[in-house]
Symmetry: C2
Subunit: 194 residues, 2 copies
Amino acid sequence: MSKKENILKAATLLFATNGFKDTSMTEVAHMTGTASGTIFYHFTSKEELFLSVLSSVKDGILEEFSQYFRDKEFANGLEMLEESVSFYLYLASSKTEWFLLLHRYYPYKLAKENPACRRFLEDIYNCFVDIFEKALAQGQADASIVKLSPRKTAMLILSTVDGIVRFKNCNLYDAGALYNELIATIRRMAANQN
Amino acid sequence: MSKKENILKAATLLFATNGFKDTSMTEVAHMTGTASGTIFYHFTSKEELFLSVLSSVKDGILEEFSQYFRDKEFANGLEMLEESVSFYLYLASSKTEWFLLLHRYYPYKLAKENPACRRFLEDIYNCFVDIFEKALAQGQADASIVKLSPRKTAMLILSTVDGIVRFKNCNLYDAGALYNELIATIRRMAANQN
DNA sequence: TTAAAAACTAACTGACCAGTCAGTTATTCT
DNA sequence: AGAATAACTGACTGGTCAGTTAGTTTTTAA
């Protein structure tokens, strides 16, 4: 792995666990066994380093989802919805740093003044909402899901799973313990019982 | 209002909008028209100031909810649930600073090493969950709500509304636009249709 | 009235940190 | 080989910030 990639990886971990302000360039340098000057050779500023991190997280998330759905077949929309939610939770537990980073306030603060940052965040959240929406729409087509607004319901589902993951990352309560209830709730809320 | 209360109020606003690290004691001092030394006369450290802020936010939230439910009557558990959710959203929009503060990572990070901080956060979230749980349990008693685990479902509902508020505060999408869908979803998910 | 206590001030300190720069080492290409 | 470029280094700088302190003003109470 190149030194630049190493720096990016270390920065992802540090920004995710300690936050932007509480991560010093010296720390990133130390973790990668480089001089602090080297980081500024590869990245013009701390902010640019953060944007690179966010960009790579975005790429990672989009890639993971496209790979997961590439050759997946679902019996119906409801099943697709449930499996999408499961995959989201699985991803959140296997790529903790990504979600920790997204649950910090800094990216959203930066997005207010930096269009590129805003774009990354929108790409990420649209990816999530799009998948849930697609499942809901498909479910309505195949009659596995009741009549509802696919987009808005997708946003609500994202709010729920994202909320669960956030509470877990904040050590407030455990996501795993809620899994069965979550799936049951989604079924009660969306399934078409005829 | 005493100078100490003024400092607390300014600190709440600054910690909520800029975060812990991005708020300097000089800034707090400037906003309250005092010397920075005065803050250290009233609060031993920046961390203690933050804890005082969190404590007052906790008191505020508990007070608001106990006041709202003091002399409220509900037709049944389902109605209570819906109105609790509505009140949560109302509070989040009228006391923005409180929820901005709770949507930052710093309090949860501090909670890991500071039991008092952890206690404040638990009190706040238990307050929320308890109310939803009480509504669900009442709804099961009066048959307005289906069979489900009240505690876990209450947590899921909190995840959803908290997620919505967070997305709104992060400027990702608007809570108001989802309100009708949220109530409809809660009804589909919890209402007992006989 | 006055003395003690509480509240407040502003200059100061030491630590830290993002970013620079002048110079060194490694790589590539002819 | 040797020149040119890319990658890397680490000491240094200017600025910021939490917290201190010695001294001043205000309040309290006897």
